[in-house]
C-alpha cells in the first residue's frame, strides 16, 4: 500500500480511537440507562425539597387560626398564598451543598428567595384578587376600591382568615316584630332606658331609634352570657326570642334624641377626626347602614365610653371591635364618645 494512503488511514484510525475514547471517558456513567439522557439527573431533580408546605403544615402550631380559616370562605386560599412559602419555617435555611454544579446552585438558591410575613399593605394584597377588573368571572367577589372603603385597610372590617361579614341570622324575624306588643313589654325597661327609649343616665344607653337586629343580638348576648351585666343578665333571662323581636321593633321606631355633649368643642372636633375609621360600619354621621351594627349618633356619652373601654379590655367580645379599639387611648375614647353623643341622630 502506498505510504500516503497508509498515513491517511492511520490518521483516520487515530481520530476514531481518540473520538470513541473521549466519548466513553467523558460521558457520564448513567447516561443512556433510561434513554438519551443522564439518568442521575432525574433523581437529582426529584430530590429537591418542597418549599410550599401546605396548610396542614401550618396547622401544627397555628391551630386556632387554622380552625378559623378552614371554616370560612377563604379556605380556598392557602396560608402560604398570602403569608409566603413556609419552607423550613420555623427552622433556618438548609446548608448549601459544596458541590457547585449548576443543578445544586439553582436548587439551593431557592431558599434565599422567600420569607414569611404578616402582610402590611392589605389593600395591595387583597385587591390582587378582589379588585373589580374586566375579565374576572362574576362569581369572584370584586370591589371598586374607591367606592368600597377607599384607602382603609381591609382588615378594619374583614377578618382575613374568615372575611365574610354576615348579618345576624335573626335579621328577618327582628324586622318583623310586633310593635304594639313591644310597647307593652317595654314598660319595665323604661326605668333605666327611659319612657321613650331615651335614657336619662349617661351610663345607660338610649334605645330609641336603635337598629333592631343589633338590639335583638344584644339581648341574646345577655341571655347566653356572652355579654354580662348585673341588671341586664337577669332582665334578658326573662325575655323570649319573640319578646326580643317585639322590643326591637318597638324601639327601632321611636324617635331618638341627641344627648348634648358636655365636652368642649375642640374635644368633639378631635373625636370627629378619629371617627372616620368608624364610619365604614357605623355610618358617616353615626347612623349605621347595617341593621346588625348599632347607631352611635346621639347615644349617651358615658355609655359609649364604657362600651369602648369594655371592648378594649376584652370584657366585651367582638372580633372587629377588638382589633379597632385596642390602640385607643383614654383620650381617644373620651373624644370619640363626645363626638357621637353630640351627633344628630335624625
Amino acid at each position: 500500500m502506498p505510504k500516503h494512503i497508509v498515513r491517511l488511514l492511520l490518521l483516520i484510525a487515530t481520530f476514531g480511537v481518540v473520538a470513541i475514547g473521549a466519548k466513553l471517558y467523558f460521558t457520564d456513567k448513567s447516561f443512556g440507562v433510561y434513554g438519551h439522557y443522564r439518568a442521575d439527573s432525574v433523581a437529582e431533580i426529584a430530590a429537591a425539597a418542597p418549599i410550599y408546605r401546605g396548610a396542614a403544615y401550618c396547622q401544627a402550631c397555628h391551630h386556632e387560626r387554622f380552625t378559623q380559616w378552614s371554616a370560612g370562605i377563604h379556605k380556598v386560599v392557602t396560608c402560604e398564598t398570602c403569608h409566603g412559602a413556609a419552607g423550613k419555617h420555623p427552622d433556618g435555611k438548609p446548608p448549601v451543598p459544596s458541590d457547585a454544579r449548576t443543578h445544586n446552585l439553582i436548587a439551593s438558591a431557592r431558599y434565599d428567595q422567600f420569607e414569611l410575613s404578616i402582610p402590611a399593605d392589605t389593600v395591595k394584597l387583597c385587591t390582587l384578587c378582589h379588585e373589580k377588573m374586566p375579565g374576572r368571572p362574576a362569581v369572584q367577589r370584586q370591589i371598586e376600591i374607591s367606592q368600597h372603603a377607599g384607602t382603609q385597610p381591609c382588615t378594619i372590617c374583614h377578618n382575613p382568615h374568615s372575611p365574610k361579614i354576615t348579618v345576624a341570622a335573626v335579621s328577618k324575624t327582628a324586622m318583623a316584630g310586633d310593635v304594639a306588643a313591644g310597647r307593652e313589654k317595654a314598660a319595665r325597661c323604661a326605668a333605666c332606658h327611659g319612657a321613650e327609649g331615651v335614657s336619662g343616665n349617661p351610663a345607660w344607653p338610649s334605645l330609641a331609634g336603635q337598629q333592631p337586629v343589633y338590639l335583638v343580638s344584644a339581648l341574646q348576648a345577655y341571655r347566653t352570657g356572652a355579654r354580662r351585666d348585673p341588671v341586664m343578665t337577669d332582665q334578658a333571662k326573662g325575655l323570649s326570642e319573640a319578646d326580643a323581636n317585639d322590643l326591637a321593633a318597638y324601639y327601632a321606631r321611636l324617635s331618638c334624641q341627641t344627648a348634648a355633649s358636655a365636652r368642649p368643642v375642640p374635644e368633639v372636633a378631635a373625636g370627629k377626626a378619629k371617627a372616620s375609621v368608624c364610619a365604614s360600619c357605623h355610618g358617616a354621621g353615626g347612623i349605621s347602614r347595617n341593621p346588625a351594627w348599632p347607631n352611635l349618633a346621639g347615644q349617651q356619652e358615658g355609655y359609649l365610653v364604657s362600651a369602648l373601654k369594655a371592648y378594649r379590655a376584652g370584657a366585651r367580645k367582638d372580633a372587629m371591635m377588638a382589633g379597632l379599639v385596642k390602640d385607643l387611648s383614654d383620650t381617644d375614647i373620651r373624644q370619640l364618645a363626645a363626638h357621637y353623643a353630640g351627633a344628630s341622630c335624625k
Binding site: V33, A85, H103, G135
Partner: protein, 272 residues
C-alpha cells in the same frame, strides 16, 4: 497496468471493510442505549416512587382564572426562577375585546404597564387599564409547559440535556445543558426560558420534586379559584381524569403534532 487495477480494487475493498467494521464497532457502543426501555421498567429515579405507575396530566379552566398571578409568584418561589417579570415558567395572559374592535388586546404580567402597577420587579399584578373602557369580552388564560408526548424540544437538543420521563414529564438536566437555546426556539408554545444567571435553559417541570412526593405543583396549590387542576391520568378518580371526562377540553396548537398533556376549558378563537 494490471498492478494499478488490482491495487485500486484492493483499496476499494479496504475502504469497504473499514466501513463495515467501523459500523459494527459503533453499533456495539450504541447497544448501551437500548438498555433504556427495559431499564425504565425496572428502575425508579426517586426512592419510594415508581414512575411507571403514573401518567401525569394537567387541566386549566380558563373560565375560573381571575388573573391574580399567585401561581406565577408561587412557581418562582418553589423553583428558584429569576424574580423579574420577564423570566417565568408559567404565566397568565389577559385577552380583552373592546367594543368595536375585532382583535383582542393581549397582555401578560410582563407588559410594562403591569410591571409598573405591581410596584416592584419582584411582584406581579395586572393593572386595571380597562376599568373605564367599554369591554365586550375579557378573560384570563394561564399557560405553562404542556409536557408534550412528542416534544420538539427533546428532539432538537444536541446533547441529550432534555428528555421525557416515563411518567410524562419533560425535564431538563441543568448539568448537561450547554445553553444553545435550540430548544427554546423549537418549542411552539414558548414555554422554555433561558436562565441567564447560570447559562442553561429552564422550564416548567410540573414541580417534579413535589409530584413525586404526592404533592401538587405549587401553582395548583395556591390557585384560589380552582383554575388549575392536576392529577394522575392513570387514576380514573383523579381531579384531572374527572376534569377531562366532565368537560369539553382541548389542547393548544393541536396541529403541531406535539400531543400536549395540558387540557384547556374556556379558550377562545384568538387563544393560541
Amino acid at each position: 497496468m494490471n498492478k494499478h487495477k488490482s491495487s485500486r480494487r484492493r483499496f476499494m475493498r479496504l475502504i469497504a471493510s473499514t466501513f463495515v467494521y467501523a459500523g459494527m464497532a459503533i453499533s456495539a457502543t450504541g447497544l448501551l442505549g437500548r438498555r433504556g426501555a427495559a431499564a425504565a421498567r425496572q428502575l425508579s429515579p426517586a426512592p419510594g416512587y415508581d414512575w411507571t405507575k403514573h401518567r401525569w396530566g394537567f387541566g386549566v379552566d380558563a373560565t375560573r382564572c381571575i388573573g391574580c398571578l399567585r401561581c406565577v409568584e408561587a412557581c418562582k418561589t418553589e423553583n428558584g426562577v429569576a424574580r423579574d417579570a420577564h423570566h417565568f415558567r408559567t404565566w397568565v395572559e389577559r385577552y380583552v375585546y373592546l367594543e368595536g374592535e375585532k382583535k383582542p388586546r393581549v397582555d401578560s404580567q410582563q407588559d410594562p404597564g403591569n410591571i409598573a402597577a405591581s410596584g416592584s420587579e419582584k411582584e406581579y399584578r395586572f393593572d386595571n387599564r380597562y376599568q373605564d373602557a367599554k369591554v365586550e369580552k375579557a378573560f384570563f388564560v394561564p399557560k405553562l409547559c404542556n409536557q408534550c408526548e412528542n416534544p420538539p424540544c427533546v428532539q432538537v437538543c444536541p446533547v441529550g440535556a432534555t428528555f421525557r420521563t416515563p411518567d410524562g414529564v419533560v425535564l431538563i438536566d441543568h448539568d448537561y445543558c450547554i445553553g444553545c437555546q435550540y430548544c427554546v426556539q423549537a418549542c411552539p408554545y414558548g414555554v422554555r426560558l433561558f436562565n441567564h444567571a447560570h447559562g442553561v435553559t429552564d422550564k416548567c417541570t410540573w414541580c417534579y420534586h413535589r409530584i413525586t412526593r404526592g404533592l401538587q405543583p405549587a401553582c395548583v396549590e395556591v390557585c384560589p379559584t380552582g383554575a388549575r387542576i392536576f392529577g394522575d391520568q392513570n387514576d380514573p378518580e383523579s381531579p384531572i381524569s374527572k376534569f377531562i371526562r366532565e368537560n369539553r377540553v382541548r389542547v393548544l396548537k393541536p396541529e403541531m403534532g406535539t400531543s400536549p398533556n395540558v387540557f384547556y376549558v374556556g379558550l377562545d378563537k384568538e387563544v393560541m
